[in-house]
Subunit: 432 residues, 2 copies
């Protein structure tokens, strides 16, 4: 069978030096986005979103010195020589429970029965656990306590089992910085500071439009020559996973009217993403309409898959045109749409979590483009190892479903050879 190497020497239109570098394309796209306005939400609903302002503590945490244990508040000096054999005997002059501070003053020879979280009474400088006293039913020896006294059986270290006021946070301290992402710990901290609500950048509404006369919705049986629209669903899912709110515009047939109408429907979104209609074919009505109603650039990006890409503005809304091939659309989404959505959310860490992995399969990279190969990455004792997850055709979704990463073969490397160490973008790692 006749073999033809698809190198660009014989095909000037494939010359990668004519194409736009992936990083330059990303920079140009990101320049069109800025964090969205802040909204005030209940702290729980702030999970995963980004603080729009610094948070300064209006109070100490804890607000008062309190007991870390259930036991007796004492003066440490009263317990110096105590032991099982000769407990220090102290008069119990009161009780202190969490939520009910005691106003007694601890004089030498006295103790206050105290529960975890209760305010430390004036005069006390240590808490002795029940187990270290002779209170009935606790500790190693039982009995006693009935005469209004308690036996302390271990010397108490000054300030033992006491949480000082402001141990965690001091009033006026800048606790959280604008730009930080809210995780459960930040939300707990906000609650401890008494905050019921928090200011975060609102999530972007991202309109998703698939174009093509061959497309029918999932659930509709395709007629001959038709296929079900998979890009609409997978792009919407990628939008949601990135923290955006997908707005489904459905399918636009390749007529100027329909494309124009659907685009208008998406004009009030913060970001508009289309799939298909950005390559060279003259059936790509989309291109004509886009140039008609907006300012759009059509790029050949130096990557594989995902070479054809469009970016610009429609009715003032930033618009990204992804290729129609499902895998090309997904790979281009991760490189260009995901960081744009993160930037709208106020995130500053826009890069996909990336690890270095040793290659277990050979990956061809003819054509001089940056090749994103679908791989399954496993963590081994020798570090991460990457296997190809299946056929690498731009339309093969099953190998993307079998993958957990995109192996990045650099533009000028003709092949990723077995044993080479190359970066892999981890698709399923959300790093907060």
């Amino acid at each position: 069978m006749l073999q033809i190497a698809p190198t660009w020497e014989a095909r000037p239109w494939d010359d990668p030096s004519r194409m736009l570098c992936v990083d330059v394309a990303r920079e140009r796209i990101l320049a069109a986005f800025a964090p969205l306005p802040a909204v005030r939400v209940p702290i729980i609903d702030g999970l995963g979103f980004v603080l729009a302002t610094d948070v300064v503590a209006g109070t100490d945490i804890p607000p008062f010195a309190n007991s870390a244990m259930d036991g007796f508040a004492v003066r440490a000096e009263d317990t110096l020589d105590s032991s099982d054999a000769s407990p220090a005997r102290l008069r119990v002059i009161g009780q202190a429970a969490a939520g009910y501070p005691s106003d007694v003053l601890l004089l030498p020879g006295t103790a206050v029965r105290i529960m975890t979280g209760a305010t430390i009474p004036a005069g006390a400088d240590a808490v002795v656990r029940f187990e270290e006293t002779d209170e009935a039913g606790h500790g190693v020896t039982a009995g006693a306590g009935s005469d209004g006294t308690i036996g302390i059986m271990r010397p108490a270290k000054p300030w033992a089992n006491i949480r000082p006021a402001g141990e965690d946070v001091r009033t006026g301290q800048r606790v959280l910085l604008a730009g930080s992402r809210l995780r459960p710990a930040e939300i707990g901290l906000l609650a401890a500071l008494g905050r019921a609500t928090v200011l975060v950048h609102r999530p972007p509404r991202v309109a998703v439009l698939a174009t093509g006369d061959e497309l029918v919705d999932p659930g509709v049986a395709p007629r001959p020559g038709q296929i079900n629209n998979s890009n609409g669903a997978s792009v919407a899912a990628m939008v949601r996973r990135s923290g955006g709110e997908p707005v489904m515009l459905g399918i636009a047939r390749d007529t100027p009217e329909e494309v124009r109408d659907k685009l208008r429907a998406g004009a009030d979104a913060d970001f508009l993403i289309t799939t298909g209609g950005v390559s060279v074919g003259d059936y790509d009505i989309v291109k004509d309409v886009l140039c008609d109603v907006g300012q759009i650039d059509f790029w050949q990006v130096r990557m594989k898959p995902g070479k054809p890409l469009a970016f610009g503005h429609i009715h003032g809304t930033p618009m990204l045109g992804l290729p129609g091939n499902p895998v090309a659309a997904a790979v281009a989404f991760e490189q260009f749409a995901r960081p744009a959505i993160l930037k709208l959310l106020g995130r500053t860490d826009l890069a996909i979590p990336t690890v270095l992995a040793r290659l277990a399969d050979r990956v061809e990279n003819r054509g001089g483009r940056r090749h994103f190969a679908r791989v399954r990455v496993d963590a081994t004792v020798e570090g991460y190892v990457a296997h190809l997850s299946g056929a690498q055709g731009a339309g093969v979704l099953s190998s993307l479903a079998a993958a957990n990463g995109l192996l990045v073969v650099p533009e000028d490397l003709p092949a990723g050879e077995v044993g080479m160490t190359l970066p892999v973008q981890m698709l399923d790692w959300e790093v907060g």
Copy 2:
């Protein structure tokens, strides 16, 4: 100042051999949970959930052989000797666009103008890109085409630029397995198979109750001796991050009636999580009520923080009692509640994503328990490095907010020394 080493030789009640191993506690808890029933949801809403049944392809993907390029469908044999100088000249007998299959038959010497995604006409065995023809406005040479013929300027490799039917998925193929988590690629694949909905295990409703007379809701100014309830918010956030739906039961004061009422309110949930009221103090009304209305075991778990833990059933609902200290509650949640929620979701990968990190700070581990230290993990060229993220007191939330991982110091290691390599549970990695 008097120094007392808190070793259990002098304090039998601190003897770790009396405590329950973390792994045993986890096993006992997980044994009480099973995946929840399946529900049918629109595929987009299945994102992050777990397939309840295998998915078998009812059709090929793609369903028919189609063109990967815009160009001309030809018989490869007609183009063998073609070149820029002497193009193979073929008669254009029709057009094929995506969604509009052509019914013409390609005889020797003929070609069909074809667009990406269009069905390959009978008789054709290759597609030649516009750039490799002399069609006006394309390729290196222009002109021609006006006489109803097209010049092919490169030999076409048989099956070049043709996507065969079933290239991605074959009818009858088991495409996705029950138990797999739906990510954008799986959702795209379901859409490509024509599925509008999918069967996933429904997410658990997890009731969250904080107990303690000292607690007031965030937004309410604490009176002397009171603090804002932070556990309710952070536990609810951890529930949501784990894939559950938090049901906030608020705060229960330490009275039997109130605890009983609140517990009843949570009885219709799939899982009930409380904070506080599980240690030895006799103000722990919660314990008495729990033993009253349910079957609950109170454990001392061989870990730090998070030693006191309760688990059992209330009105038939599994209940986990976390300690009241915010950080102890968070650490115990990650070890015991998170995997339980994942199991309810149908997940099989219940472990927290864990890396090995080199320790940059010394971590004391007196007391012979498994110590979970709050650390900041950084990826370096020499691998992961872990620094303590701040004070390690069980009440110090700020160091948890500053952490991205929990360093695990084994029970029998008296200290994690600088330079040691130890496992770190990564709190912010969601691995799909």
